[in-house]
């Protein structure tokens, strides 16, 4: 098990996010990393020398098996740390991403597994995203967008997209959290907004922009 630089790990993570094990364009990768295309060309050259990616010039970059495995192990660390920060230290779910970006680079198998064990071997992080398992298996990606449920259904919120801090602020203001259940009272045929009723009796209206970032299952 070789040791990797933080930069390398960030490239691997970005590649996995953008394409999984499919090829990704230089430009998309540059945009995601926040570097110029020329920097990416060089970085990718270094990665291919370590057999983490294959490169076809002018065509695209693709993770190797080793690359995918590394990407999953970094994602596992990221999401376990996010879980720790929220569940154990009491951070808000809007605060933990930048911290997990740092903590995911700490290198120690044993630390990750002890952390997972301490947290009760969770399968999903505070945003409902699946936590890759030690063997590389991915738990299911939960839920469907709120708009997919018809009037009259009872639903449970199970996942949210990371759509920026204003989105999280809005969720907090509306008191919406993972695990909450609601009755779908109406879906607007005018603007696709959704009207929910909480068990407390309160009614909330969600704009389409909010809905597409909130995922739920029937409850």
């Amino acid at each position: 098990m070789k040791t990797h630089t933080e930069s390398e790990e960030n490239y691997i993570k970005a590649l996995y996010h953008l394409g999984g094990d499919n090829p990704v364009s230089n430009g998309d990768l540059a945009h995601r990393i926040g570097a110029k295309g020329s920097s990416v060309t060089q970085a990718v050259k270094r990665l291919s020398q370590k057999n983490l990616v294959t490169v076809v010039p002018y065509k695209g970059v693709q993770l190797t098996e080793d690359g995918v495995q590394l990407a999953k192990s970094i994602l596992r660390k990221h999401r376990l740390w996010e879980t720790f920060l929220v569940d154990t230290l009491g951070f808000g779910w809007d605060q933990v991403h930048p911290l997990a970006e740092q903590l995911e680079h700490v290198q120690s198998e044993e630390l990750v597994e002890r952390l997972s064990n301490f947290l009760g071997a969770p399968k999903h992080d505070p945003h409902g995203d699946p936590i890759p398992q030690p063997n590389g298996q991915m738990p299911p990606v939960l839920g469907e967008p709120l708009g997919a449920f018809a009037k009259g259904h009872t639903i449970k919120v199970v996942r949210v997209e990371d759509a920026g801090s204003e989105f999280f602020d809005q969720l907090d203001a509306m008191n919406i959290n993972l695990g909450n259940t609601y009755d779908v009272e109406a879906i607007s045929s005018f603007d696709a907004s959704v009207q929910l009723k909480a068990p407390s009796g309160h009614t909330i209206w969600l704009s389409h922009s909010m809905c597409v970032n909130i995922y739920a299952v029937s409850a």
Copy 2:
């Protein structure tokens, strides 16, 4: 509050360890860091441009007030993480140092303070070393070497030096932990070894080499 590279932080920590706010020689610093003298000369130049150290060529390097403050904040993080790893995740006290070396570089005031709060705002780490407080104050350095206690005294182990993994193995084999109490039964005038009696009735003999790395108070 500027942001510092990992290398910079390691130099600051080394300087604080070697001399506190007193001057340190280039060679000692090089030995501690594990780099060559020439590399240290350059690194120290970068640090002085950030006003973290003052340098007198051929004479020595000295932390500024800012430098001392930074050193303490890093040490605080290091020792809080060590406490977390031992108390919360169940690591052995011989395992946590290299992990804390990585975790101490994570940048977030709030994370450190939440961690401290979660751990009960500890004043000493798993080795008994003082944890610098947020205001910069240092809790007392506890204990005296075992050899300092006369026969007949009852003592409590409060601190151990980091004298390598074999030392920790030996402590574990002898079941010696922080907080344990013993009666001093004898001190050899031949080889300065110490004979202790545990509350369980078991007797253990500690060589001089062991004793000088174990600190205790009267109990």
